[in-house]
């Protein structure tokens, strides 16, 4: 009996445990397994195997019962998921349904989640930009949050390391605030995007419209072929999962890579309840897991634990990891865990028309989506009455206009003989928000989910800085549009709720000082150094870049640091 118990513990003991199998978690698993560590990768959702579990990937529009539209009943049942632009008939099986995983909205918050192996890396917008020191130095310069304990030089080699492996298409534009990278050829701007780019360059000193950088294989390198991927085929049906592996997802890239080493144990249906802490050893020893289906409780053990459950769930797990030593949650001596949560403000768009360049149109589809405007506001110095700034997406296209006004053969002719419309341009704002103590998540004292885990209370809102910045976006973009000769300019506040940007960040922020932050510069909990947080929860500030590339680079850096420390016997 005793031997059996010892064997059982042995079987449940690994070198490293990673909680969460999305972009960042799968990167930790890849780094550990490649270097020989026996690694347990825990995922609360079901398994999704590359290609095999992409049921809609090769369907034509007419093969969808409702031609991709969500039925009324689904909209009524899942208003949160339905507000996500990417939740449609071809992708709905990769989203959490509202009633399956409730949470408490102290203030309106759309929490968009993907509970499956690969997480939201199947659904992401695939836009990848590096941070620069203009971003890392932001909080210190502008006096908010706390100083980032790292700078660009610390992360730059890891950006390169990640970019080479996942494949990033883009130009090296030579813009200090958006550092160059290890890029595959960019998807070029189209005629009107190019026109806008040139017009902006002519009229403004520090404003740029560049080809959007995206995690697609415009021209695969041998490493990508070795991963079993081929060139992006411009389908732009990415949310279904890509049979070509044309874009980076954990499912197509990092998880199979980790599996090939023979060192990975992937365990789906594993809801992490908490992290186990041993007071005598002064460190975490493992995790308590609840089987999602059987509700059976079990424990797994390891020397190192990476928490990559997605920003808010990472907060939840740590807050729920209570012990005598840590009554407020693991590593939460200062009571700041769950606070200073921030996100990206996506509430503004601006459209217009352009009558020129009618000799051109687009042919095929652009997976990068068009252009990207790096933040230019308050970069070199404070120049407005709001803090920080915004980046923006920009795209142009010509619609095929079908006359549907008639009936009978006139209608049929009108539908089948489309006329090419003039160019329409579109931009959306991606603005930094300032982390504040009163934007927070916490655990509900009474209500629990089906696995006995407290429900998360979310209390996050926009503020005056966000509204001022939106106004600035309207004004500046309108001016830039006018200079480019665009007409019929229409600004639009799309009233989306916080969370709908799907860039929630913070709550377990990094910093120099254990009194004012939770993680050190290596992503270790100050107070429990064998627990690392490298997903969105670690973010001290948000800047304007799409964050996933930075999470992946943070993860690779921290995982390699953890392995060095293990070798030295420090963990």
């Amino acid at each position: 009996m005793a031997n059996l118990a010892i064997d059982s513990i042995k079987e449940r003991t690994f070198d490293a445990i990673v909680i969460g199998s999305g972009a960042s978690g799968s990167w930790a698993a890849k780094e550990f397994t490649e270097k020989g560590l026996k690694t347990l990768l825990l995922e609360r959702g079901r398994n999704v195997e590359h290609v095999k579990d992409y049921p809609t990937t090769n369907l034509y529009p007419y093969e969808f019962e409702h031609r991709l539209e969500m039925p009324y009943e689904d909209k009524q049942k899942n208003p949160i998921a339905n507000r996500c632009y990417n939740y449609r008939e071809d992708s709905k099986h990769f989203f959490v349904k509202d009633d399956e995983h409730p949470y408490i909205q102290v203030k309106d918050f759309d929490w968009i989640r993907g509970y499956q192996v690969g997480g939201k890396s199947l659904l992401w917008a695939r836009q990848v930009q590096r941070w620069s020191d203009f971003d890392f130095e932001g909080p210190a310069r502008d006096g908010f949050s706390v100083d980032w304990p790292i700078r660009y030089k610390d992360i730059a080699p890891w950006y390169s390391y990640v970019e080479r492996f996942v494949g990033v298409s883009g130009n090296n534009d030579g813009i200090p605030e958006l550092p160059d990278g290890e890029h595959l050829p960019a998807f070029p701007l189209n005629a009107v995007e190019d026109h806008f780019s040139k017009s902006v360059a002519k009229h403004y000193k520090n404003r740029h419209v560049i080809s959007a950088r995206c995690a697609h294989l415009s021209k695969p390198n041998p490493i990508h072929i070795e991963q079993g991927r081929v060139q992006c085929q411009n389908r732009v049906l990415c949310q279904r999962g890509c049979p070509f592996g044309g874009y980076y997802s954990a499912n197509a890239v990092t998880i199979p890579w980790a599996q090939k080493t023979g060192n990975l144990t992937l365990r789906p249906h594993s809801v992490v309840h908490s992290i186990l802490y041993d007071e005598t050893k002064g460190k975490a020893t493992g995790v308590k897991v609840i089987d999602a289906n059987t509700k059976e409780e079990m424990e797994f053990f390891a020397k190192v634990i990476f928490v990559n459950a997605s920003a808010l769930n990472t907060n939840l797990i740590l807050l729920n990891s209570v012990s005598n030593r840590f009554p407020q949650g693991l590593g939460n001596d200062n009571g700041l865990m769950g606070k200073y949560v921030a996100f990206h403000n996506y509430t503004a768009t601006i459209g217009a028309e352009y009558d020129g360049l009618l000799q051109y149109r687009t042919d095929g589809r652009n997976p990068a989506g068009g252009g990207y405007i790096p933040r230019f506001r308050n970069v070199y110095r404070q120049e407005t009455d709001f803090l920080r700034g915004w980046a923006a997406g920009f795209g142009a296209g010509r619609a095929e206009i079908r006359d549907t006004s008639g009936v009978g053969s006139a209608l049929k002719d009108g539908m089948l003989n489309a006329k090419l419309g003039t160019w329409r341009v579109h931009s959306h704002m991606m603005a930094e928000t300032i982390p504040k103590e009163d934007n927070f998540v916490s655990l509900d004292a009474n209500q629990k989910d089906a696995w006995g885990i407290p429900l998360l209370r979310i209390s996050i809102d926009y503020d005056e800085n966000d509204r001022k910045m939106r106004q600035d976006y309207y004004e500046q973009m309108t001016e830039m549009y006018e200079k480019a000769g665009f007409t019929n300019i229409q600004t639009r506040d799309d009233n989306r709720r916080p969370g709908n940007d799907i860039h929630e960040m913070g709550g377990v922020r990094m910093g120099h000082d254990p009194k004012t932050s939770l993680l050190n510069k290596w992503h270790q909990l100050h107070a429990c150094q064998n627990v690392f947080v490298t997903d969105g929860a670690c973010m001290t500030s948000t800047s304007t870049q799409n964050p996933t590339l930075t999470y992946m680079a943070f993860t690779a850096r921290a995982a390699n640091y953890a392995m060095d420390e293990m070798k030295k016997g420090n963990l």
């Binding site: 019962e65 051109y360 095929g364």
Partner: protein
Amino acid sequence: MMNRRAAVRTLLYIAGGTLVLPACFRESGKASIDLTNLSISEDNEQLLAELTETLIPATDTPGGKELLLHLFVLKMVDDCHTPEEQEQFTKGLSAFSDWSKQELGNEFVVADADSRTGLLGKIGESTDEDIKQFFSITKRRAIQGYLNSQYVMTNLVKYELVPGRYNGYAQV
């Protein structure tokens, strides 16, 4: 036996083909597809079929009836519209049936194509909101069903699943 709903769903997927619904699916007097929210008589289904055929007639290419657009309209109204719109659609369909009889002096389904097309041109003059709403939904969904049918997407306005290219400076 094949599940009836699944079979009908398959028919709807391939609604671009030349399939005619097998009679065995049909319960006398009722609509030929399973509907959750709508209650549509066999007669009104036929009326809707002729209406979509009038909207999008067969020429040297298939029209509404052959592409089963009336079933697509019913499926979408049944699943994707609000209860209020569904009620308006059902009421409007019956009202349209009566109104067209008055206007044509005959059943819509037996009237000649020109009279039917002419009648649809007069919908705007109708003061009946239900008829207008019914017609607007039917037309919009018929157009959607047509442009998204297998026939049109593979023969007339081709849909590319795998373009494999992007050119931002294509000559018009």
